[in-house]
Symmetry: D2
Subunit: 179 residues, 4 copies
């Protein structure tokens, strides 16, 4: 994989997949594409992923990554989800970008009833704004988590958690459109 | 879903999916079936899941759950993976049962080169035994983690992590067969 | 100990003691007294503790607790630290009350140079307000932490962290007056 | 402070103080002395600390640290607690050394009824051995914890936990002699 912008880590991608219940019949929208890491992870397990970014350079990195994995169910789109999300009856929309709460109105229109929107938000202030907007748009009660993965060492001299590690990537917010 | 035996939680299932990279072309073996929760989660995103349990009552619960979700890519098998795993060129084998290290020899035979075995182990002593057996069987260096998901509350009176929560389900051990 | 209002737990008291470096020569101010748990814990290891609360009923519970432990170095004071802290050259001032940032101006006057103020704040919004006020009053850069204590079970059937536990009590904020 | 051997961190020292309830009337034994960090921390709040190490070079570092802080209630002793602990009616004995379970028999003799022994043990295997020995010597049920301190960042751009941090120092084991 070529990496450009910061990527969402497997620990967080795993929770997105598990909490959304996305599967082989699911249609996903991912914005912003970034390096395409999340796009590709969703494409491996879902029917189709539409991935939006405003930056052409990011889309080129993502295109390279999509191709190198031989995935044929990804549509990379240069566009601004704050202005428009063209898809309908979407199962999952993942938002990883600054001011992502501004995409929630369009996300709601694009989602099918019961569909899920996901926000990846490093700071608690962003979470608060996101949650407030979800509430205004009458999404169902959101679920907010942080995922902590701790490495365990099992060695000759003894077993213990790793001394140092990753403490925080971002808060994960999940909310369903009323069904 | 009907629940019988204890189930693996979404937080742990998410990490299994993310760390194994399992997708629509993947063939999985899950043992033991239990209530079929992990079987079903894997079936939603992979090509086929072969799910083993020695207990007929568990398999009946699982069969109910598989049917109610309309999944047609699950084969439930009453059998003992300590004695035999019938499949070949498997991408992922998940082990959630007592003494699961005893299944590793057969798991290795069933896995394709580079395929992954996963162990779900509540106690550190089990992890040590599992890791020792992996080493004897010349699996690649295992990755051992625990996954902690912390609920965050965002409310009128203020934002904070949830007061109480789940601290431990099991250790997750991942190891690849040499490719 | 008689308990009335919610108490600060040993895990948090331990960090207050360790981070403040309070010892046998230290003079402390504690507000609000509450049940007197923190007051008593500080009194056991320091020279003198002045403990403020506006509520007479809480002070009575605290008085009972102080007496039953035979401590003779505690002065319980009915008073409002937002209006006045009578002591001077104080080593440590601990604040556990709503709107505790309103006590910081008086805390600064009461502290000796290099003395430490501590805030016990359940919500992140309170932390932000507290930190902002510290900055205005030219306290040194604050240290903000949360303390997580995880029980470990070592038993015949195996060793593992406790399944459930306490995830959050409050954020702990420490800041020194410039020396 | 001069530092030689690895020191116990304030987070762990805080919990030792809070869980042991050590105060101005308490007599402590600390072994091994190491750099004297724990010895000094206990001396600041207790009546007297007897600190044992077999290594003269460590005791010299500790002596420097004790003197520079002007503490007059520390007795540094070159000696092996596996062979003998000379004190009686001790309130708290802290053990931070390899094979510290071998000191438990002497610790029991030195402790007053209800007194507490503490073990600082990096690996779970050490914890198991320590706990087993406590049980043989009829100490009360031990309390085993790990202490995790997480830094919180409150800044202009937003508030969040620190990205990386310390995950593990050691397991802390506390047990009381029957009273």
């Amino acid at each position: 994989m070529r990496r450009g912008p910061q990527v969402i880590l497997p620990k967080d991608i795993g929770l997105i997949i598990a909490y959304s219940g996305v599967g082989k019949d699911s249609v996903c929208v991912d914005a912003g594409t970034g390096s395409g890491w999340l796009t590709v992870s969703l494409a491996r397990i879902s029917k189709h992923v539409y991935s939006y970014d405003t930056r052409e350079d990011f889309l080129k990195i993502a295109e390279h990554n999509v191709r190198s994995l031989g995935l044929d169910n990804v549509t990379l789109k240069q566009g601004d989800v704050f202005k428009k999300i063209g898809e309908k009856e979407v199962d999952l929309i993942t938002l990883d970008m600054p001011n992502s709460e501004k995409a929630l109105k369009n996300a709601k229109k694009a989602l099918k009833p019961g569909g899920m929107v996901f926000g990846y938000l490093p700071h608690i202030e962003q979470v608060k704004l996101f949650v407030k907007t979800l509430s205004k748009l009458k999404f169902e009660e959101p679920h907010i988590i942080e995922v902590i993965v701790r490495d365990i060492l099992v060695r000759e001299e003894g077993s213990r958690p790793s001394t140092k590690g990753l403490w925080h990537t971002a808060y994960l917010v999940f909310a369903n459109k009323a069904s």
